[in-house]
């Protein structure tokens, strides 16, 4: 496993432990900052999204 993947896996372990040991409201409030920010700032068109997914519209 390369260094980057190991770091990512280590963080998954750290965060899963945090989720297990803290109240749902606590970890979810932090998680939602990431999720809501990404979704609200997404500026893809339908065509760009489908191309990114290697799919085509059937229109």
């Amino acid at each position: 496993m390369n260094s980057n993947r190991k770091q990512r896996m280590d963080f998954v372990g750290y965060w899963a432990d945090y989720v297990r040991t803290h109240a749902d409201k606590d970890w979810s409030a932090q998680q939602n900052i990431i999720i809501n920010s990404c979704l609200r700032n997404a500026a893809l068109t339908k065509e760009q999204f489908l191309e990114m997914k290697h799919e085509k519209s059937r229109f």
Binding site: R5, R8, M9, F11, V12, G13, W15, A16, D17, V19, R20, A23, D24, K25, W27, S28, A29, Q30, Q31, N32, I34, I35, N36, C38, L39, R40, A42, L44, T45, K46, F49, L50, E55, K56, S57, R58, F59
Partner: protein
Amino acid sequence: MEITPKGIRLDRELSDLDKFAIDFSRIIARHARYVIVSGYVSILLGRARVSEDIDMLLPEMDMTKWKKIYSSLTKSGYYCLNAQDAGAAYDYLRSGIAVRFAPDGIVIPNMEILFAPDKVQKLALATRIPAFVGKEKIFVSDLELQIAYKERVLKSPKDMEDARHLRLLLGNGINKLKLNKYERALK
């Protein structure tokens, strides 16, 4: 968070992704059995990542039933990203191609729907578990099946991380017999 063989109970704050998943699932549940699989299951349970889409499996169905679902979705403010009408979407689904729905005027997040014709997909539908999120309920894949599928079939770094997150959450509560059974089924 409480994870038992009968389901999951969460008292989390809802993200925009959760609100989308819950509203969409409520519409589908009026018409058909469904199960949410893959990345969103880990995200719902706290994984620190985002996804632009959610994967949902539906049982194979006839065109009449599908048209009712399609109509309910469009009347509820959703549109199909990759098919122009219910018939075209049905052709996609019957061909094993996913159709995607998003709230009107939005591309992300969207729901990626597939029919479940093969053994593993049917297993996911048959063994789904409820996740009670506050007062809401959505059905997600059995966690041991998710772990087995991500570790044995998908295997990408992202999937291995999702599986690790679920493994760590389950801890000693993981059902090893069930996990082994799923791993054998996926060979």
